[in-house]
């Protein structure tokens, strides 16, 4: 029995994580003690302030890593290729990619929180159920709705989910990664079931997500156990050593990698584990969908990058073929099934499946550093950039979806969107712009992202995947154009859609999403450089 050693906590470097967690806990306290009338404003401000404080922390840590003193403090690794440190007994790693992902998650969390706080669209109440415990269609529900009740627990739930998302890519061993997976998932399951309108659909979505999610977590845990059996350690650095040096029991390793992948691929919504995506995206309250679509993808891909590059990087010949198949399948399934959709939210859900495939294309484009030419884009850089572009356009697109309404709440049927271009040229124009970005038309961020991931995949010799990616892009382009055609060139059905005027909160989200989508399309240099400066993972 070894003696217990008190783990060393690098408080400065973990500050963003701690702030988000602290604010989440504080939110629970507010919920318990603050009077109902004061909760909304308190929670909203607390959440936003916490996110800003965490973001400031990320910037300061980044400056410290890049600063002059970094080398003396032992923060620079591998001839300046990587920056960062391990903390809490080597379970959490704060390095360049972690910081980049934290920054993204905090920005997306901020934009998501703005959408959560929107109360102008639905007659002075938020998009969340007045009282989740009241059964749909009962007197209790009617009473909650006439009293104008609001669930303000959504803010701490958002922060808990965000905490899990930030921990996920920062985890340096399989157990921490599993814990993070659960922390991010549980609040999301709950949030999905809290829609004010169409509550049965929302609750069904939550249950579906929970059941499948719990099932996939089981796979992840089993995979972790097998990899532990192979390597004798949960820690990524040690697993990497074992993969390099130990040829025995490679069967166990392979099965372990496969099972771990199931858990992670479920979270990113890759085929054949994509079945939950459309139902959950459709049923969840739109602000939750927006936040979840952007945040989960960033977090889960961050974790996947670390797991596959750090722990299994030496064994990439084993997992790359699997990723080839998954990526091709995901792109085709997402693009082809999206065509048949008649609901805007489901359509965006399938499009997000297709995007998962594109990001996987970047992920499997990993090469040894020695194989890269000077100035050539690396796969880590490409994936990080793609995640940023995808998050901004997805958040913006879902925010626009929340504006188009009829008497029953949001009008998500595609037929109701016909003629939107005449009704509200600005909203239709912005949505068309997001769709063009998702289709990867030049001068939008989506194009640069696509170019980046395709380049790295092609450079790694994965040309068949790129061929399929091009085919899937063509199919996907068709469906985005179909929506644009419906908005601009089709005659409205009946009264046509109405566009609700948002408050400054949703407007800000849409504006930031659109501005980022344009900026990253026209001048992607700074962010690409930032992703390059972030350097490599440390182990």
């Amino acid at each position: 029995m070894t003696e217990f050693v008190k783990p060393d906590v690098a408080y400065f470097e973990l500050w963003p994580l701690l702030v988000v967690f602290g604010v989440a806990c504080l939110g629970v306290v507010v919920e318990a003690f603050a009077p109902r009338s004061a909760r909304y404003i308190t929670q909203a401000l607390l959440t936003l302030a916490g996110l800003v404080a965490a973001m400031a922390g990320v910037v300061m840590i980044g400056l410290r890593f890049a600063g002059d003193g970094a080398a003396e403090d032992g923060l620079v690794h591998g001839d300046g290729a990587a920056y960062g440190l391990l903390s809490i007994g080597g379970t959490i790693v704060v390095d360049g990619p972690t910081l980049f992902l934290w920054g993204l998650l905090l920005v997306f969390g901020f934009l998501g929180a703005l959408l959560f706080a929107e109360r102008h669209l639905d007659g002075g109440v938020s998009a969340f159920a007045g009282q989740a415990a009241a059964l749909p269609g009962t007197d209790a529900e009617r009473e909650a709705s006439t009293r104008g009740l609001d669930h303000t627990e959504v803010y701490p739930l958002l922060m808990f989910a965000l905490f899990g998302m930030m921990l996920f890519p920062a985890a340096n061993d399989l157990l921490t990664m599993f814990v993070a997976l659960e922390i991010l998932s549980l609040p999301l399951y709950l949030l999905c079931g809290l829609a004010r309108r169409r509550r049965l659909l929302s609750q069904e979505a939550a249950l579906k997500y929970f059941l499948l999610g719990a099932f996939s977590s089981g796979f992840f845990l089993y995979g972790a156990a097998l990899v532990y059996g192979f390597a004798g350690s949960m820690e990524f650095g040690a697993i990497n050593e074992a993969v390099r040096n130990d040829a025995a029991n490679s069967g166990m390793l392979l099965v372990g990698i496969g099972l771990l992948s199931v858990g992670l691929l479920f979270k990113v919504g890759a085929a054949p584990f994509q079945a939950w995506t459309p139902d959950v995206y459709q049923g969840a309250p739109t602000p939750v969908t927006a936040f979840m679509a952007a945040g989960t993808k960033v977090a889960a891909f961050g974790a996947m990058l670390r797991l596959f590059y750090v722990a299994f990087g030496a064994d990439r010949w084993s997992w790359q073929p699997m990723m080839w198949v998954i990526a091709v399948l995901t792109m085709l399934v997402g693009a082809v099934l999206a065509i048949t959709q008649t609901d805007v939210k489901r359509l965006l859900a399938y499009s997000s499946v297709a995007h998962t495939g594109f990001i996987l294309t970047g992920l499997l484009g990993v090469q040894a550093t020695a194989d890269l030419a000077v100035g050539e884009i690396s796969s880590l850089q490409a994936v990080l950039f793609y995640l940023a572009t995808y998050g901004f356009s997805t958040l913006g697109a879902f925010a626009v979806v929340s504006l188009v309404r009829d008497s029953g709440g949001e009008a998500t049927a595609l037929t109701r969107w016909a003629g939107l271009g005449k009704e509200s040229p600005v909203v239709a124009g912005v949505f068309a712009f997001f769709l063009l970005a998702m289709a990867g038309i030049p001068l939008t961020s989506g194009f640069v992202g696509k170019l980046a991931v395709f380049s790295v995949a092609l450079a790694a010799g994965a040309w068949p995947v790129v061929v399929f990616a091009v085919l899937a892009s063509i199919v996907a382009a068709f469906l985005y154009i179909r929506v644009i055609k419906a908005m601009y060139f089709d005659e409205p059905v009946g009264d046509g859609p109405t566009v609700a005027y948002p408050s400054v909160l949703t407007a800000t989200t849409i504006a930031i999403g659109a501005a980022a989508t344009l900026m990253l399309g026209v001048l992607p240099g700074p962010l690409l450089d930032l992703a390059a400066v972030a350097g490599e993972f440390i182990r």
Partner: protein, 511 residues
Amino acid sequence: MTDLPWLTILVLVPLVGAVATALAPSSLSRNLGLATSGLALLVGVLVATQYQLDGGMQLTETHAWIEALGVHWALGVDGLGLLMVLLTVVLVPLVILASWREADEPGNGGVKGFVAWALALEAMSLAVFTATDVFLFYVVFEATLIPAYFLIGGFGREGRGRAATKFLIYQLAGGLVMLASVIGLYVVSADQGAPTFLLSELAALEIDPVTQRWLFLGFFIAFAIKAPMFPVHTWLADTTEKATTGTSVLLVCVLDKIGTFGMLRFCLGLLPDASQWATPVVVALALVSIVYGALVAIGQDDLLRLIGLTSLSHFGFIVLGIFVFSSQGAAGSILYMVNHGIGTAALFLVAGFLVRRTGTASISAMGGVEKAAPVLAGILLVAALAACGLPGLSPFVSEMLVLIAAFNHAWWVGVIAVTAIVLAAVYALWAYQRTMTGPPRPEVEAIADLDAREVGTLAPLVLGLVLFGFFPMPLLDVINPHVTDTLSHVGVTDEPPVVTTEPAAVEGGHQ
């Protein structure tokens, strides 16, 4: 004077004009559009005056754009690019003038949208013709589609929304296939140690033959859809049928040239071995396009569809000329690109004026128009004769050069291509006979002849047809050095064609 970034100005003028038009009240749209496109014409002419006839990339500008990807804002013109730039800046003001009232008619999207999108399309097209960075080329190549999409979808006849979607899907599909090749070029350059998108650096790479073929395929499919060529031409007739004729001019006479322009610059310029490898298939497809386009055109009842399909035949000639690898063929093709632009623009515009008067584009519903509108009929006849290659009008010269090159390449290629001249006479003259001659139908008796604005729009085009029909030398002076450069890169050397006398004129001018 020469220190100014002329080409950037050239691209920015219509772009700024487009934004200004979109923001200004629609009562100003027409004048703003005309003024901006006129200014662009002026800049284009100024660019031409600074161009030295000895070939190579000129007026080059290179600025780093996205350093992480090795992307540059790099512009430059060579002989080919210059002619395409001039064609664009000449045609856009004419289109705006020709569409003066049309876009405001009920059912159309309004003149503001038309002018703004047309100027945006001009800016993007000019950028395409001057880009010397493959990434930049790709960006603007795809960006042309957005204005084109809204021009087709917002203005024209019933069913245009569907036509616009079909157009966009075809073009995007081609573009995405090309994206794979663009990335492929980048990866090849990275594998050789210096990742870049610059055309000048890419042209210097040694690319192994197998890779070249794959890259060629990506580029060629995109350009074949753009041009268009059989069997990926089916968007063309639908689009020209539904869109306004002004839009059709922009599409067929400017935008489609990007296809053949790209074949010359990228397929031949960057992938010479693969281009020669693909010659048999490409020549066969070009021949099918030539004959099939002409045959189908004969069978059309819709005048605008007919004109669209004649372009299929003409683009077949252009591609044929490019891929027989001789200086006559290449020079003929480039000349053809210019002449086709002028001739087809005249044909589309005069047909548009006719369709607006009769209210129908159906050939069988017209007849005897020449009695009521002799000037219109006369110009239509000139444009139609130009399309079938009458000597004395400019397309004749280029068609002749391509045919000679085709016969030199292989006698049967020439024989098949030559049949198109007969077929062209059939579709052009038969259409003219059915619409213009005979007893006037009651519904066309009252139509007015062309007014001053319409004649003014068509006059420069007809003038160009006649002028370059008798005196193609100025164009060939620009073309020949470019052809010599391109062919020496491919590895073919022969004497450039001299159509008129005085070979000294080629060297004449600036040193």
